[in-house]
Homo-oligomer: 323 residues x 4
């Protein structure tokens, strides 16, 4: 469940921060007590989402030093909320002065202005991908709890556009597999595990499609072709195929949970774009700053993080399912 700037119920993340403000950060509430946290591993996860890692991503050097402010003592979780901040550095806010009164195409400038009557125009403000650092920190904490339960999460980027012309961008797909989830996780009806994963993934900036198992391709098949037949393997009931993606009726069946998230191409490009000002006049926006050509590789750790948050929340809630 998500509400405004919070996601999760028993295990939750509430986040804050504008791209060019002093810091981004968040509060992880509901972390179980007694978990030993490997901070090096956490830093590694955060580094994975950093820009400037490949030829197709931006070169802004975000140091992303995570400062943990509470909830962990001598490396072990206390059960109390974990507050954390990541200072924003290397901001070139002046790069955005020309955008103060301009709405860029396919950005959130106009929608934020419509909603709030005010917006931080610098670097996308709250609508910047910068906010995903809080997701990755919370996800890294969740992953470490899940690891103690034998649950692992692995995403991979798939880009189908063969070549991106100079100054253009492309989108793509992140496919993700969650292994080790016992049967019985997830809630029926509105709180289906697939439903919660969809919500979490579609909340990532630029996400435009979510598919579980065979996903949209289900529309092209007869029912008899896509039944997941039962088999017994290692003395456990399981399915020989996994069209369902590990979830039936909203609840895990013990098989791998497989889903895909489609991301649109980044709307900020290194070429002139046509914006509009509040009075309706067209404005040509010259390219400045540093921007990703393809968001998909950087989205992988974010997808994994959101999956970790959802799965841990549901594993914990499930402890109350039976007498």
């Amino acid at each position: 469940m998500a509400h405004k700037n919070r996601i999760g119920n028993v295990f939750s993340l509430t986040s804050f921060g504008e791209s060019h403000g002093p810091a981004v950060g968040g509060i992880v509430d509901g972390m179980p007590a007694g978990v030993r946290i490997d901070l090096e591993q956490l830093k590694h996860e955060v580094a994975r989402r950093r820009p400037g890692q490949g030829g197709v991503t931006s070169t802004r050097h975000e140091l992303d030093e995570v400062e943990i402010l509470s909830g962990i003592m001598d490396g072990v979780t206390l059960g109390t909320p974990i507050g954390f901040i990541v200072r924003n550095r290397d901001q070139r806010s002046a790069d955005y002065e020309h955008l103060k009164d301009v709405y860029r195409p396919s950005h959130a400038d106009y929608t934020y202005q419509s909603k709030y009557g005010i917006r931080d125009h610098r670097g996308g403000g709250r609508a910047s991908a910068r906010e995903t650092v809080a997701r990755v920190v919370a996800g890294a904490l969740a992953k470490q709890v899940l690891a103690t339960m034998g649950i692992t999460i692995a995403g991979k980027a798939m880009v189908s556009v063969a070549q991106i012309p100079e100054g253009d961008t492309c989108g793509g797909v992140v496919a993700c597999e969650i292994k080790g989830v016992a049967p019985g996780i997830g809630e029926p009806v509105f709180g289906k595990l697939s439903s919660q994963l969809a919500e979490a993934m579609m909340s990532i900036p630029a996400a435009k499609g979510f598919e579980i198992g065979l996903g949209c391709d289900f529309a092209n098949h007869l029912g008899s072709e896509v039944l997941d037949k039962w088999e017994v393997k290692d003395d456990k009931i399981t399915t020989s195929t996994n069209y369902s993606g590990g979830i039936q009726g909203g609840i895990s069946n013990g098989n791998d949970i497989c889903f895909k998230v489609t991301f649109k191409p980044v709307a900020t490009m290194m070429q002139a774009m046509e914006g509009i000002s509040g009075d309706g006049s067209k404005v040509t926006i010259e390219p400045r700053g540093r921007h990703d050509q393809c968001v998909v590789p950087r989205a992988v750790p974010v997808v994994e993080a959101m999956a970790a948050i959802v799965v841990l929340d549901n594993v914990l809630i499930n402890r109350a399912a039976r007498l």
Copy 2:
């Protein structure tokens, strides 16, 4: 936001009911006071999801008489919760006795048993599409509020399988358009309107994919090809194309909100299926009862209902966005 058997925050639906229990029903909390409710229109919406409406759907005759128990006086909403029930009739529970200890393939039998250690095996119990009647009742109420604001919702079924062999089933897609939503509706970050719609749609039984705007096809395009350019129309800022599906940064931009939901083929077929019993032995399940061949036409009013719940909830929450 959804949690267990509830969806929505300021306007919410909590539902209950097993397919072969005494009744299904729900509570709509947060209905604004002073709305005149057209009960005939509500009945019409409920009738749209009833089985037995076309050659490709089941012939179970559900009367679906909705009984409103509170929250409406002399046809006008009081602002208090609206409780309602729909009695289950025409149940042929004996049709399911042979399934008491058997898990059907691609059904929720095994996952419910794993979660709760007990399940109502008759007609799918809580996991039956029967629960969607509560969604449609709540959605019909929400639609009537939205209509006073000039907001309309229309879905249509799209089935790509040309011919369904006797005893087989097929899936398909419901495409939905929401018209009349002002710019500024939806929350940033986790509570994006697209994120909430994804959650709501993926909670519908058999839903397997969700796409907003151009959706999964975004992966096949360059950024420059799918920018929504600005234009001024009727003195309002809008976009000349609508690849974004009416939502940017999670918030409505005033254009039509367009999304698609893919449904898998119904897993219950009028042909023998191979199930498994708790001890791991294979069981042949002979077809009985009455079942839909294609769920997609019946899913249309459910998709519309869920969209209405999400949009109304967000329109109401948005009243708190500014001083």
Copy 3:
């Protein structure tokens, strides 16, 4: 946690119903699966809150037949939501026609009208004590789960007014003890067990004061006089006194949880009262209908029910406190 017509998080009750509408009822969501429910015991609890049980309470004969509509099969909980309704009978709505445009003193008539611009004036509508039947049903279910854990709840009515003159009313106090709660239940900071109990109790109609342990009398003592000293008893750490009422820092310490709730005298009396109409003119209201002289005895099962809901919710949430 409570929000509008719902209370509880992992175990919750959402209720509906006006006093003179067709029915009151609710949905209990989060009931653990596998609990054997004694329906006779549930009926007994509901009968305890019925009017007409003593000289000082009203003689309206509410049959209060609870109809369980879902979530229980063959007497055992399924883990799915339990929907239930109680039909309103023996309504004498005509008794209230003279109150249609009148606000009674110390009632909710004016406040509901101010909030919603409309109200059901018959018998208090949603603001009637009639709504407490849903609390008692949910509480009776919760009590049966708690009993399996060795937790019991017992309230008693204490009325200090020696004699109530003919046609007048009095208030009083319900003192309640919860026995058998293990140390460690409750959340720190905002979700303190004492905080949640206060919210639950103050939500009961006519509740005006809440005290935990020594309560308001703490203001009259020095710190050294009211320290709960430690002792070891039956090999367990406990306190020799219990000024704290079994809760320290918001979390149970294993001792009995003791609290008191003060109820005001019922504002509806069998004597003429001065009301006011919407235009500001004074109106004399002659007594009609049937009303309690003292609400306190009937409040006992309601207090116990709310305590059961809060404690069960917290016991279940606590399962997620540690790795």
Copy 4:
């Protein structure tokens, strides 16, 4: 509504922080956009809760420099979450080494250890009154919004113990008045304004009693003595007395909202106390550190802050009450 470390629904505070960790802080989510924030006024509120302000309070010099990290640009709220931190300084953690394995009487040491199996023993950890600084920051923000609506909140401390012996402590009462709330604020049934205020107040460290209006004294009066009679004043319907404390049926009636909170004496005293260690052996704890003799004066700004959070949340939610 409160859940774990969060309080409020549409306007909410989530807080974090141990007394001797790096910082305490929080996230205010749901702040309406377009509110000009007076940071000097905010600092003033925070200074009011600081220890060392009078003869009867501790002399720890907390600088309490609030750092706002997001959600405000050029002094105006953006509608996005406001993250803030307050560094912990002047910590004398060594003062607490002797308490590492000891449970103090009437403290949360034992209950935290029971719940989590681990605790930060330094200065009370999460259970320290130090966490109230986050409440005051959020309350100061809420107050500034309420002021634009003509709503003011004022508490005052009332201490009945005439003289506190050297090394002892005393409790007392904070009486609070909220002026300017229009009729119609609050929710019926579980979300009563009185119920939410009770929850918020009882969540303050050391709070042990909550009373609305005449409160516990209602038990000593006949109904006819405590009716709030109607009158018309300045062309508005109001009551000539205010026994109800401004709330009827859980909803504001336009009169002043009056409530009282009783605080127990501080359990940490400047005299030897008897603690217990995990193995059950008694331990004499010699007084160290700096502690308040009477918490009541410092509790005033905290009570006001919690009232501001509750009232603003409800005023915002009320915008959705009617069509």
